[in-house]
């Protein structure tokens, strides 16, 4: 129960395909340094399928408390049924305007770095945490990249290519200042509920 607020960077690569190049990039000394420079305290990495050996190798390069970690507290795991718990740890807590609310651990607004999977992007957007979307270049399906570009265009987050994640983190503060609105705006016209009821065709 430290009183120092935590500032978390959460990285997720999803469950269906491995994404070793992103994992390699965020478990590197240069990335730890970037996080430390930007006042981050924690890093959690969900590394997915068939990547455990690589992760252990990378962790051995910069073990706990070594200078290579730059003081970042690191946690890794392969899968979890519910990622929103971790994403929630990157939210500001207590929320703005509710500073009197008692909380166990104070949290500063953090960062989510995600592969371009629909589920992960949606979950990140729902948390309202700044998001960097990194499409997996090894996947043939290009609609993920289209989605990532659209996210950037609508200013819900930014897209970064593999290898360019560090500059994206460096630029994040500038982007937030430029009103990078990762909070979900209401783009909806609430058509699903009426459409469902329409198919049932009630008397009235």
């Amino acid at each position: 129960m430290g009183s120092d607020p935590i500032k978390l960077c959460f990285v997720t690569v999803g469950a269906t395909a491995s994404f070793e190049r992103l994992v390699e990039e965020v478990l590197d000394e240069a990335f730890f340094k970037t996080l430390a420079n930007n006042k981050f305290t924690h890093l959690i990495v969900q590394y997915g399928k068939d990547t455990k050996v690589l992760v252990n190798e990378l962790l051995d390069k910069n073990p706990n408390n070594s200078p290579g970690r730059h003081g970042i507290i690191l946690n890794t795991f392969d899968f979890a049924p519910d990622l929103s718990r971790y994403m929630g740890m990157a939210m500001e807590r207590p929320p703005q305007g509710m500073e009197d609310r008692p909380v166990v651990q104070k949290q500063k607004l953090g960062l989510i770095i995600t592969h371009a999977g629909t589920g992960s992007i949606l979950e990140a957007l729902r948390c309202g945490v700044p998001t960097i979307v990194v499409p997996n270049p090894d996947l043939a399906d290009n609609h993920q990249e289209e989605l990532a570009l659209m996210i950037q265009k609508l200013k819900y987050g930014v897209m970064a290519r593999v290898g360019d994640v560090i500059p994206a983190v460096e630029n994040l503060n500038k982007l937030i200042a430029e009103k990078l609105d990762s909070r979900a705006r209401d783009m909806d016209e609430a058509q699903v509920r009426p459409a469902m009821s329409d198919q049932l065709s009630f008397v009235d």
Binding site: G14, A15, T16, P81, G117, T118, G119, L122, E123, L125, R126, H143, Q144, E146, L147, M150, A184, D186, M187, D188, E189, A190, Q191, V192, R193, A195, M196, S197, D198, Q199, L200, S201, F202, V203, D204
Partner: protein
Amino acid sequence: MASLIISLCVLFYKLLIPAATTAILAVLILLAVLTYSQNAQIPRVRRRGTPVHILIVLGSGGHTTEMFYLLEKHESLDPSIYTYRTYVVTSGDQFSARKAEHFERQLADKQRKKAKGNTDTGSFDIVTIPRARRVHQSYWTTPFTTLQSIWACLLVLGGRYPNQKKLPWKYPSVYPDLIMTNGPAVSVCMVLAAKLLRSFIFMSRSVSVQARGQPEVSRLRTIFVESWARISRLSMSGTILLPLADQFLVQWPDLAGRRAWWGMKKTVYAGWAVL
């Protein structure tokens, strides 16, 4: 030699031309039936407050996440309207089954908090059926597993799949009233199965003397919601289901107004259903 050619020509006229004509006719009839079916008006005879059975098709990770987000938004899945919910998951997909249980717990919690006398959320069932196509499965065997999957869907729709719960007595029909689907392959099988069942019901009603002309409560109606990830191109499942689903919702304006062919129903922009 000449006689061989002549006999081949005769064979051609006798067999191939009628066969080709029949095939073309069959396709035209199928297209006409699909067009008629998608445009048919549903009689407004369902009374409010009567129990409604909804069937929800869940697929792999992203699809399941999207499905629950859209059901949750604006309380689209209102347990006071949709009193019985059947979730269909494919074998080996523990994630979707767990999500469904979690979602049901949330529904119950919300209902308890409202607590306006009625805390009943109805009941639900989770049915597991085989996958339509496993990753890396050979394309040669895909048609067979697809048929197997359609058969499983037919059984589920009829409430006869092994281990499926028995529907409470207050439901007048074994068939679900509404079927909600989004992207996964199994949803194609489910909509096909619903369409097949409906055509059987339609035909049996049109030969029955008592039933003819009587308006009937609509059942086995299908809604397909295209994935939020699809911005400018429909998915494979979406393309197949375009002429089959009763209502086709999309989440990006570019995809609105699409239809399978002339005279068919157009896709409808529904805003961001999942956020």
